[in-house]
């Protein structure tokens, strides 16, 4: 059952990523990326990281991608122009990439470490203990980082008007 879920979510994630590359309009790429993120949140649930899965949806799919969608709408981004795909890429590059990917899959899939180590369920309380005790300093640093990012974004995107 877990295998079935894993392959379904992995297929959705890879399909979303391929769609991100192949779509012409940025808004469709953004929607594909949202699909990838939700599929990854499902994979995190399978791996027992429930809190991170919820945080991924709240922060990544629910806030960062909303920001992307806003900017695409505000800037009225249009479709990309068609260019001629380089023939070297199409005839040599893509097959090589496919061979590389197949080799990667073959070599690492046989490497498989067996069953995963048991995790404490739910992982929220131990995660909070780690975050607020051992990693308190990086946690406070990230809050300063976010403050700096807010200031930077507001100052950069402000429309330059003359003060009257």
């Amino acid at each position: 059952m877990t295998m079935l879920l894993f392959f379904a979510l992995a297929a959705i994630a890879v399909a979303g990523a391929v769609s991100l590359i192949l779509q012409r309009h940025p808004i469709h790429s953004a929607l594909s990326l949202i699909v990838v993120m939700v599929a990854l949140a499902g994979l995190y649930l399978l791996l027992g990281a429930e809190f991170i899965s919820a945080v991924q949806i709240i922060v990544y799919a629910g806030a960062i991608m909303v920001l992307f969608v806003f900017v695409i709408m505000l800037l009225n981004a249009g479709e990309e122009e068609r260019t001629n795909f380089s023939r070297m890429a199409a005839y040599v590059g893509l097959p090589l990439a496919a061979v590389l990917a197949a080799g990667l899959v073959y070599w690492t899939a046989h490497e498989g470490t067996g069953a995963a180590a048991p995790m404490q369920r739910p992982a929220t309380r131990p995660l909070a203990m780690l975050l607020f005790q051992d990693y308190l300093f990086p946690f406070e640093l990230t809050s300063i980082l976010i403050l700096v990012a807010i200031l930077g974004a507001v100052v950069l995107a402000r429309r330059e008007e003359g003060r009257e």
Binding site: T2, F6, Y60, A63, L75, A109, G112, A115, V154, L156
Partner: protein
């Protein structure tokens, strides 16, 4: 039970697709989204290894990666708005000179 290597392969695939997207697309916002895809692939690898080793440090690191990605997306998109305002185009091939 799904072996950890499956997750690592999926993460590598997604990362590779992100690299392809970054190299081949010409819209700045789409390139930015390919960067976010790469970050997500790395997060998946972190959590898979955190599960394999039974430690929670991987999840803590993913937490920080998500926060840093949020900050970076905010500032990066503000810069993109400025570029679009000054050069009137979102095509990366028009942003190759310092001169406007």
């Amino acid at each position: 039970m799904v072996p950890v290597s499956y997750y690592v392969v999926l993460s590598a695939l997604l990362f590779g697709l992100g690299v392809i997207g970054f190299l081949f697309k010409r819209n700045i916002i789409t390139m930015f989204m390919a960067i976010e895809l790469m970050l997500n692939a790395v997060n998946l690898a972190f959590i898979a290894f955190s599960r394999a080793l039974g430690q929670l440090q991987g999840q803590v690191f993913v937490f920080f990666v998500i926060v840093v990605a949020a900050a970076e997306a905010a500032v990066g998109l503000a810069i993109v708005i400025l570029i679009a305002r000054n050069r009137k185009s979102l095509n990366i091939e028009r942003v190759d000179l310092l001169k406007l």
